[in-house]
């Protein structure tokens, strides 16, 4: 059971002073799976993400990350940059690109975070530095093409349109060679055609790069078509878990979203 789970979250409780943000959350993310976490605003989805990436340390429970090499690591209490090095990549709800850097450089920062060149090597441009630079150039170009931004190579990140910013952020996280990618509302603020492209991209990531994807999303149509399984959070605890079809017909979920059980259409049951 342990090794085909990439994330094993057991009984996680996170409090800020008197406010309980997560209470007894259990979540199992299988390797290679596209898993979605949904829930109304303030349900604790981003808190969960921040706990998974080491930004917050939950007071109770355990979060275990099992890497492909077989090592199991507890993520709680580990600083974010070390969590990232374990093989956990993430994007942010409000996109946090390095605005003054070009598209290409943004990805390179991600790729280079794993490299070894120190200041001395960088100053003297030693052979290893040059090799690594070459490698990160190639990798960054490959990723730009993968997410479809190759034509925006030298554009500064701050002048990219919103959909491109989202894709760039995903590419930047992919640059670190993650085993699991946490996407925090990747489709927020994008238009319908960009949403379709994004869904295609996420599928491609899971399929071609063999990266497990954990996704927070509000757009039900997107989530239902994309995710293999879903967790529904409300007020900091998991109220439902299952395949899209199971979730659609779950009364608790419908209650949480609408407060009444007469409008299933909100969960996207209208689209075939």
């Amino acid at each position: 059971m342990t090794n085909d789970l990439i994330f094993d979250v057991a009984n996680v409780t996170l409090r800020f002073g008197g406010v309980t943000s997560l209470s007894g959350v259990n979540l199992q993310h299988r390797r290679g799976e596209i898993l979605a976490v949904i829930g109304p605003n303030g349900a604790g989805k981003t808190s969960l993400f921040n706990s998974l990436t080491g930004v917050y340390s939950p007071q109770e429970g355990s979060i275990t990350f099992n890497s492909a090499s077989g090592a199991s690591t507890s993520v709680i209490g580990v600083p974010p940059h070390k969590v990232a090095r374990l093989g956990i990549g993430r994007t942010f709800q409000a996109s946090r690109l390095f605005n003054a850097l070009s598209t290409f450089e943004n990805i390179k920062v991600g790729v280079e975070a794993r490299q070894k060149t120190g200041p001395i090597g960088a100053m003297l441009t030693l052979p290893r530095t040059r090799r690594e630079e070459q490698h990160s150039d190639e990798k960054a170009l490959e990723l730009l093409e993968f997410v479809g931004l190759a034509h925006r190579l030298n554009t500064p990140a701050d002048s990219l349109p919103y959909g491109d910013r989202r894709r760039l952020e995903i590419a930047r996280a992919l640059g670190t060679n993650p085993e699991v990618l946490l996407l925090d509302e990747p489709a927020a603020g994008t238009n319908p055609s960009e949403k379709l492209q994004l869904a295609e991209l996420i599928r491609k990531i899971a399929r071609e790069k063999a990266v497990s994807v954990l996704l927070i999303e509000h757009d039900m149509r997107l989530v239902m078509s994309l995710a293999e399984r879903l967790y529904v959070l409300n007020f900091g605890s998991v109220i439902a878990e299952g395949t899209p079809d199971e979730i659609r017909s779950n009364n608790k979920v419908i209650d949480a979203y609408l407060g009444s059980s007469d409008a299933g259409s909100a969960l996207g049951s209208s689209d075939a």
Partner: protein, 614 residues
């Protein structure tokens, strides 16, 4: 090519083209300038600047610039040539002919080249009464420059020939041109040529008698160390170019973010001119300025470059920068035995530089590890405190530092390797230019190193941390590590500056290391443009120059102590009219733009909130 109205707007590329032509002409004018004597090289330079010779070249440069800009505009279709139908120009006819020419044509071309070269050599030669006389023309054969001109003219003829002999602009260079040895040797020769041009003693330059091994130092060009240094530099550049050519493909080459949007060739020429000016200009300055460019300008440039790493690259506000400067200076004093406490061994100041670097780097790391977890204002206060601690220790620890009465005499730099006899023998106040050149020799490699540092993984990581530390951490970049790294590198630069100034002043007083120095250096960095090495250099030079200039030309009674008032005023003006600095780096300029548009913060200093997105 529609019939558009000619628009008289010049874009960056036009300005670049024009400026290159003009600068080239100016360089030619300087290189071929009037005669000097060994005692006073280019003694009459001041008068010569207003001579017809220089103006001839400048007019030539201006004409060339406008012509090439015009041609470019026409080619781009922005302007219209009055000549509507393109007719086969004289040049293309000539080019066709050149493309198919045989040996006899080459002979003719050679003869014409010789004649043109003779005339050119005569016109650009040193001033003599009987210009254009036959004897003088024939005399040009004794000058190497004539042969240079011949090669130049033939090169132009040949490049025309190549241009027209190939259909799809494919250039058939002989295979050996691309070979490694050719390029390396050619670069070394170019370095040698530059040494030739950079030598101040003009009358014998370009003549064969110039290449002697013996005689007084000014005569013996071939036993000049600079000659060999320049040639070695060229050799190194050539070897590097060959290596780089193998490594980088053109595909990845266009990915490098550059400060100026100009080609590598132009960049190289600009750096060459800058280097030339930096080496040559001080020779024509008055003793006052020869002192000032080291003590008041050069040292501060150096300090500002170091602080730029901390403030500009890593985005940390450091108000205690002078502490490392003081540490470097006192380390030098310690190892030369000038302090009341005695070192285990006495070192020459040159050898104490590594120790100063080490001590400053260590103290930078020790100060940085606990404090760099702080953000913005808190970090500024802690560093301010550290600066004051060092200052107070230097004043009050009489048994260690000598206190306010100063240290003992610090000996001067001495070095005795063949070619360099750099010994000031304790006369620390003389030989100011020597200090300037020493600083230049230290600073130029540092500039190169820092530039490549900024364009590397480390530089990009700094930019990432500066912009968004949380996002950087999510990629696996440790903020603390890179901040401490910036702190340590900045501190060790400052330490080297401290060694230089301690030797220059001969005696150290704690008052040399007051808070004002920190503030001044910070202002230089901000004024010049944070994060841009060129900008910081320009900013420091401009402010330094203004402050010295005011000493003589102030309209009110200006004292040295008033300078902080002027610095403050300049800073206020800069903040109003050009808040991003004189010459900001591309990255920093964009950050500024974003900050004004509310997209992000300009600095890690103004702490972004707690980090997690809601």
């Amino acid at each position: 090519m529609s019939s558009r109205e000619p628009r008289f707007s010049l874009n960056k590329e036009d300005v670049r083209l024009g400026a290159t032509c003009f600068a080239g002409a100016l360089l030619l004018a300087v290189m071929t300038g009037p005669a000097g004597t060994p005692e006073q090289p280019l003694g009459a330079a001041k008068q010569a600047i207003f001579s017809s010779h220089v103006f001839g070249f400048l007019v030539f440069g201006a004409l060339l610039a406008s012509l090439s800009v015009f041609r470019r505009k026409v080619r781009m279709g922005e302007w219209h040539s009055r000549r509507e139908t393109p007719r086969r120009s004289m040049r293309s006819v000539l080019g066709m002919r050149l493309a198919t020419m045989g040996a006899s044509w080459w002979l003719l071309a050679f003869v014409i080249a010789v004649l043109i070269a003779l005339l050119l050599a005569d016109y650009t030669g040193p001033y003599v009464a009987n210009k254009f006389s036959v004897a003088q023309l024939m005399g040009q054969f004794h000058n190497t420059r004539t042969y240079g001109y011949i090669v130049f003219v033939l090169w132009i003829v040949n490049s025309w020939r190549l241009r027209f002999s190939t259909r799809e602009h494919r250039v058939h260079l002989p295979a050996f041109v691309k070979s490694v040895w050719f390029r390396v040797v050619a670069s070394a020769l170019a370095g040698f040529g530059f040494a030739l041009c950079a030598d101040p003693w003009l009358p014998e330059r370009f003549s064969f008698s110039y290449f002697t091994f013996s005689g007084p130092s000014t005569h013996a060009f071939l036993s000049h160390l600079p000659t060999w240094l320049w040639s070695l530099g060229g050799l190194f550049l050539g070897a590097r170019a060959v290596l780089a050519d193998r490594k980088t493909s053109t595909k990845t080459n266009r990915l490098r973010a550059r400060q100026f949007g100009v080609s590598t060739n132009t960049r190289f020429a600009l750096y060459g001119v800058a280097l030339f000016v930096a080496f040559e200009a001080p020779k024509f300055m008055s003793p006052f300025w020869q002192l000032a460019i080291f003590q008041q300008i050069g040292i501060f440039c150096f300090l500002a470059i170091g602080l730029n790493i901390v403030v500009g690259f890593a985005g940390l506000l450091d108000l205690g920068y002078v502490a490392f400067y003081a540490l470097g200076a006192y380390v030098c004093a310690y190892f030369s035995g000038a302090l009341p406490i005695h070192p285990p061994f006495i070192l020459s100041p040159f050898l104490s530089i590594p120790f100063a670097i080490l001590v400053c780097m260590l103290s930078g790391v020790l100060l940085g590890l606990p404090t760099l977890r702080l953000r913005g204002d808190y970090l500024a206060i802690v560093t301010l405190g550290f600066g004051e601690i060092i200052y107070v220790l230097a004043t009050n620890l009489q048994s260690v530092t000598g206190g306010a009465n100063g240290t003992g005499i610090i000996p001067s730099f001495t070095m005795n390797v063949p070619g360099i006899h750099f010994a000031l023998n304790g006369q620390a106040l003389s030989g100011d230019l020597n200090f300037y050149y020493l600083l230049l020799v230290i600073m130029i490699p540092v500039l190169l190193l820092f530039t490549s540092l900024n364009n590397s993984r480390v530089g990009r990581s700094w930019a990432a941390i500066r912009e968004d530390e949380v996002a950087a951490a999510s990629l696996g970049i440790s903020g603390l590590k890179y901040k401490v790294m910036a702190f340590a590198i900045g501190a060790s630069t400052s330490g080297v500056a401290g060694v230089l100034i301690s030797v220059k002043s001969g005696v150290l007083f704690p008052s040399n290391f007051a808070l004002q120095v920190s503030i001044t250096v910070l202002v230089l960095v901000i004024f010049g443009g944070m994060g841009s090495i060129t900008g910081v250099l320009i900013g420091s030079a401009v402010i330094g120059w203004i402050l010295q200039f005011l000493l003589f030309h102030s309209f009110i009674d200006y004292q040295d102590a008033d300078k902080y008032m002027y610095i403050g005023a300049m800073l206020i003006l800069a903040m109003i009219f050009r808040p991003q600095g004189l010459w900001p780096s591309k990255r920093r300029e964009r950050e500024f733009h974003d900050a004004e548009g509310g997209l992000g913060s300009a600095d890690a200093m103004s702490a972004p909130s707690d980090g997690s997105a809601a």
